[in-house]
Amino acid sequence: MSATRSGNSRPARKKAVPTAKGAAPTWNPNLVVFACNWCSYAGADTAGVSRIQHQPYFRLIRVMCSGRIQPGFVLRAFEKGADGVLVSGCHFGDCHYVNGNERAVEQFKKTMDVVKLLGIDEGRLRLEWISAAEGARFAQVINEFTDQVRALGPSPLSNGRQAADVPAVKGVAIDG
């Protein structure tokens, strides 16, 4: 099965080129970003309000506090084929729920141990604190992380999925 990235129904501005076997030069990772409602999700919104452009290969999942982000979430994302997972929350002292982010760190450490055990490169999992005002930082973190994971190549668990978000259904590769 060789699925490549495809365009969409609009006149494709960037046509996907079916690449030969092996590493595609334009390989883009699938990233899952977990964000807390009060800081990092708000930071992503701030990036929007200020129109700070960043790479579009991540999907953000909102929870109320980074303390909610349990190892199971991260591991499930990897299991399903994520090439990288970013966990984000408020800076220390800023958590809306006093110290949820301190718990998040502990959870993160546990998760990291399992991730390493599974043979997943630790560069695929990252923890960042981003405040509601730090739109630029959000964009920067996303860009850095995307590049970092891109350099690592597809995750060993991604089943050869090659491009961001390309499902293969009934023999047809459809974007989205």
Partner: protein
């Protein structure tokens, strides 16, 4: 943001108060609203007009560092979100035109008017780019200033401050040299979403400056005619220097030129220490004489006398940052006149007596908060604002807001999920990048989706109507709105759902604007893919949503105040005047705590008698109708917000049911023990003991006897040692705030009696209103101030009696010895024990590292604790002086009264719940929850955790912590999150071929 959304708050921007009549409880205020030329009700803040606008104007928010279009949004988080037209820059508005052009245009308009006979004929527009670009026709150059009247029970002045105009100090070269900037300009650069995206640049060549010099106290502490201390600048400079270091490693060298480092707030001293440890800045004590520009190198030179090293130095710098002081805001004087309130000598709004009330102006019913009264730090501003609100409520009782309960029949939403999807164009905000129709069509192919539609502006009233129609016509029981961010718009959609009886928790929002079309505009293809994925994930979550219902618990509408000192008195009075039953419990047999005789004689800086102030406060308290219980203690507290039960013992013996508790039992003074020979030398006393001595025989104070020499001779000299028990790395590392001004006050008193007085200090922190002036006065009187290095402690000379003080004089640069007949130790504060520990145990409210009660958030929630319904007033939260204590007490009262205004506590249903079957009663959740919501309870012989819905805040941390997966976090359940993850990677089969289009690859 929250204020803008609040149903009971009308925000009128661009407006000024032009008249005020009436009396407290019934003011009539005339307001003039100046036109912004954009209709707030229509503007969707899309920003198209900005792109179209050809005209560039000034930019006060980015302090001139970045150009701004004539039509603009004042700043990204502004409320209202609508754009505004800059009167001075827009081509259509006369402000921009030259005299000649203006005349011509006027003439043309007159002609037009005459022809059309209409006084308000549409003006001739020179430029119409923005109105053409606007999709919703929000731009309206016909707007005129509007005047209207507002009925108000009370008026609250919060006009803030303006920065001191550093141009007035010519020697600093601000305005002449581009590389001399103000702290505010630096702040804008450091802001990640600001002008330079967080990079510090030198304005002259936009390069990173390698050497930066901060100059403190610009326009403060005697400079530029302003005697006061601006309070926030020291910490701001320390913080900025650290930020600059973190952000730009190219910055090699930062120097801070200071006089005293005033790190007086909670945790501030630790912060400064960190800055020292990290060597983020070099601290030089001195005020620059002048700053000069060196033409050859293009750099600056700061001429300063280093007062510790005793040398004139020249510091080369690439950029100089002036920490400018706060000055009264423009228009404050006119406003004060309109409102009939007094100003102080600097032009700030004056308060009647800050020790009585921190927010009362000279006119009844008019209150003031924040930096309008003089420079303030944020936590104090927030406390004062709440305090002002508390005082204002006095005139608002009777106007209390009654919730209108329009009962709606809940819709039957049972059965398998049928999802309705609404995709928003948001004008071109979304549709300009994404193919919205295609998104809706795609959504329509996903499982369980009954209907998918699009709308031009989903949040508009027609969009809401469409949502209602969609629910009714298609019998859907889940809604997914793909539009902007749920943080701002979810309430709107939820409200619409609730209005028609559709459970609002069955709605899920997908953010395809702020986090997709706006940030991936250059990657339309990828953005489309992302939007589809996000919608798919949203639908997946929606399919697993379940209806939630807001719970309620009854609220006992009464409050318990623990402690009868000034804080307790102030809090109790503020609550009781609103007609709420208040019980004040005091352990001793009298009210007043530290203010009562014989503890404190005069209050600085007004020099009013403490007793007089106290009497006034007690009189108010008695009149308020609060129940006062002396000789009574609280033995135990159980329950939770709205339903506490306190066991009182002492004068009465009862169980008291209350809805809220305010802790106001104060702090203890530090006990010096053998330090400085306090125990074994007679003439070493604490500041408290000295204060008591001032109460001799009324006027003829017997201070002489107090420090008489053994040989009977008159005492000639006295010494004060500051920071005893404060700023001590081994003990309390913070600043006790009250001791500097108190010591100065006492020193002046002794000085007046002809005693030579010397004060040994590390930094003089006279931060409160009027204290800096008092400091200067004391110097003028001849009180000697000796600065000792921060790490040192002065040594006491003499065996049995203290005969002198020996120390290293930082300013003279050598060891000195000052003979003395009396040594006064200015003792700091420490948490009161055992009260702090016992209330910590009973209420589970946390304490900080220094042992004081911990506020929920230093800026956002300075008087709340993590325990709902428990508030802090005064020094239980940390050292502060009387003015700050009173302000905080009123703030605590205000916060409590918000809770007590209702007879029920509404419970958010998006909280955690425990499955008793799965729970193994390990107690992990009990240990980690900062709000103490979970507890282990036994039921039918089985122990399991239970979560108290009125304490749970819904963060979900326990859910992720629970080792047995027994905890469900509503609205963010494992299942829902998993469904989202799965939907990202395992798209549902798409039966519809419409989505299989160009660009796809067949395997």
């Amino acid at each position: 943001m929250d204020a803008g959304r609040h149903p009971l708050i009308d925000v009128v921007t661009n407006a000024e108060v032009i008249g005020c009549s009436g009396e407290p409880g019934a003011f009539r205020v005339r307001v003039r609203k100046n036109p912004r030329y954009v209709r707030e009700d229509l503007c969707v803040a899309c920003g198209l007009c900005v792109d179209a606008c050809p005209q560039v104007g000034g930019n006060e928010f980015d302090v001139g560092l970045k150009a701004r279009k004539a039509i603009h949004r004042p700043f990204p988080q502004s409320v209202p979100a609508a754009y505004a037209v800059d009167r001075d820059a827009c081509l259509n508005l006369l402000g921009f035109l030259s005299e000649k052009q203006r005349k011509r245009l006027e003439k043309m308009r007159k002609v037009k008017q005459r022809k059309q006979g209409d006084y308000r004929a549409a003006p001739i527009l020179v430029c119409g780019h923005c109105s053409d670009a606007c999709d919703v026709d929000a731009i309206d150059f016909d707007m005129r200033p509007e005047e209207f009247e507002v009925d108000a029970g009370a008026i609250l002045v919060a006009v803030g401050f303006r920065e001191f105009d550093a141009r007035k100090l010519g020697n600093y070269g601000y305005g002449r040299f581009p590389d001399v900037v103000t702290s505010l300009e630096l702040e804008r650069m450091l802001n990640a979403s600001g002008v330079t995206q967080g990079h510090v640049i030198r304005p002259s060549d936009r390069k990173t400056p390698e050497r930066i010099v901060f100059v403190q106290c610009v326009g403060a502490r005697g400079e530029g005619g302003r005697g006061y201390c601006s309070r926030f600048c020291c910490m701001n400079a320390v913080k900025d220097s650290m930020l600059v270091r973190q952000h730009d490693p190219e910055v090699q060298d930062i120097t801070i030129l200071y006089t005293d480092l005033r790190a007086f707030g909670k945790g501030f001293d630790d912060f400064v220490k960190r800055s020292h440890d990290e060597q983020s800045a070099r601290y030089v004590r001195g005020r620059p004489a002048k700053i000069e520009h060196v033409a050859e190198t293009g750099t600056l030179e700061v001429f300063v006398e280093n007062t510790l090293a005793h040398e004139q130095t020249r510091i080369e710098a690439d950029m100089v940052v002036l920490s400018v002081a706060a000055a009264p805001n423009d228009g404050a004087a006119e406003l004060a006149e309109t409102l009939g309130i007094e100003l102080d000598r600097y032009g700030f709004i004056a308060r009647k007596d800050p020790a009585v009330s921190a927010v009362e102006t000279s006119r009844d019913g008019v209150y003031v908060a924040g930096s309008a009264v003089g420079p303030q730090v944020i936590p104090d501003c927030v406390s004062q604002a709440s305090a002002a609100a508390a005082r204002a409520q006095r005139y608002l009782t009777g106007h209390r807001f009654e919730e209108e309960a329009v009962p709606v029949e809940p819709m039957d939403l049972s059965g398998p999920p049928r999802v309705g999807v609404l995709v928003c164009h948001c004008g071109v905000n979304i549709a300009g990048v994404l193919d919205v129709e295609e998104l809706a069509a795609y959504a329509g192919t996903l499982p369980d989706v009954a209907v998918a539609q699009t709308h031009l502006f989903a949040c508009s009233s027609t969009g809401q109507d469409e949502l209602v129609e969609l629910i009714r016509d298609h019998g859907v029981n889940r809604i997914v709105v793909a539009a902007c961010t749920p943080r701002t718009h979810e309430p709107i959609f939820k409200e619409t759902c609730a209005r028609i009886g559709f459970n609002p928790y069955l709605l899920e929002m997908v953010n395809i604007r702020d986090q997709c079309s706006w940030v991936h505009a250059k990657h339309a293809v990828e953005a489309q893919t992302k939007a589809r994925a996000l919608i798919r994930m949203g639908i997946a979550k929606a399919r697993h949503l379940s209806p939630l219902h807001e719970g309620e618990v009854p609220m006992t509408r009464s409050a318990l105040i623990v402690g009868g000192g000034i804080a307790g008195i102030a809090a109790a009075t503020d609550l009781a005047v609103q007609g709420l039953p208040v019980t004040l419990v005091e352990k001793t047999d009298r009210l007043g705590g530290r203010l009562a005789q014989p503890n404190l004689k005069l209050l600085y800086p007004t020099m009013r008698s403490a007793q007089e102030v106290l009497d006034e406060k007690i009189k108010r308290l008695k009149k308020s109708g609060a129940r006062i219980l002396l000789n009574t203690e609280v033995e135990g507290v159980t329950g939770f917000v709205g339903n506490f039960e306190a066991k009182l013992a002492g004068a009465v013996d009862e169980r008291l049911a209350v809805g809220a508790i305010i802790l106001a039992f104060g702090a203890d003074l530090y006990e010096p023990g053998t330090e400085y020979g306090y125990r074994n030398r007679d003439n070493v006393v604490t500041s408290e003991e000295l204060e008591r001595a001032f109460f001799g025989d009324a006027d003829t104070v017997d201070i002489e006897a107090f420090c008489a020499r053994p040989d009977g001779a008159e005492p000639k000299s006295a010494s004060f040692i500051l920071c005893v028990g404060s700023r001590d790395p081994e003990g309390f590392s913070g600043c006790s705030r009250y001791c500097c001004p108190t010591a100065i006050k006492q020193a002046m008193e002794l000085c007046r009696r002809g005693i030579d007085t010397t004060v040994f200090y590390r930094d003089i922190r006279t931060i409160s209103t009027g204290a800096e002036e008092m400091y200067r006065e004391a110097r003028g009187m001849g009180v000697l101030f000796v600065r000792i290095p921060p790490g040192d402690k002065p040594e006491i000379v003499g065996k049995k009696r203290a005969e002198g003080v020996r120390c290293y004089d930082d300013l003279l640069g050598r060891e000195i010895e000052v003979p003395t007949d009396l040594i006064v130790l200015s003792v700091g504060m420490k948490p009161r024990q055992p009260a702090t520990d016992s209330f910590h145990d009973m209420l589970k409210a946390s304490v900080d590292l220094s042992g004081y009660f911990l506020e929920r958030h230093p800026e956002l929630a300075p008087v709340e604790t993590a325990v709902e319904g428990v508030f802090l007033a005064g020094t239980v939260q940390g050292p502060k002086d009387i003015v700050d204590t009173v302000a905080q007490a009123s703030a605590a009262a205000a916060k409590a009264s918000v809770l007590l205004a209702f007879d029920k506590v509404k419970l958010d249903p998006m909280i955690a719940g425990v499955s008793r079957e799965q729970c193994r009663a390990c107690g992990a959740c009990v240990d980690i929850c900062p709000f103490h919501a979970p507890e282990l309870v036994e039921e039918n012989g089985v122990v399991a955790a239970r979560i108290n819905g009125s304490l749970c805040k819904g963060c979900g941390t326990c859910g992720s912590w629970c080792p047995s997966g027994a905890i469900t976090c509503e609205h963010f359940t494992d299942r829902q999150v998993h469904a989202m993850i799965d939907a990202f990677f395992e798209p549902e089969p798409c039966s519809d071929v419409r989505v299989a289009v160009e660009g796809q690859v067949v395997t």
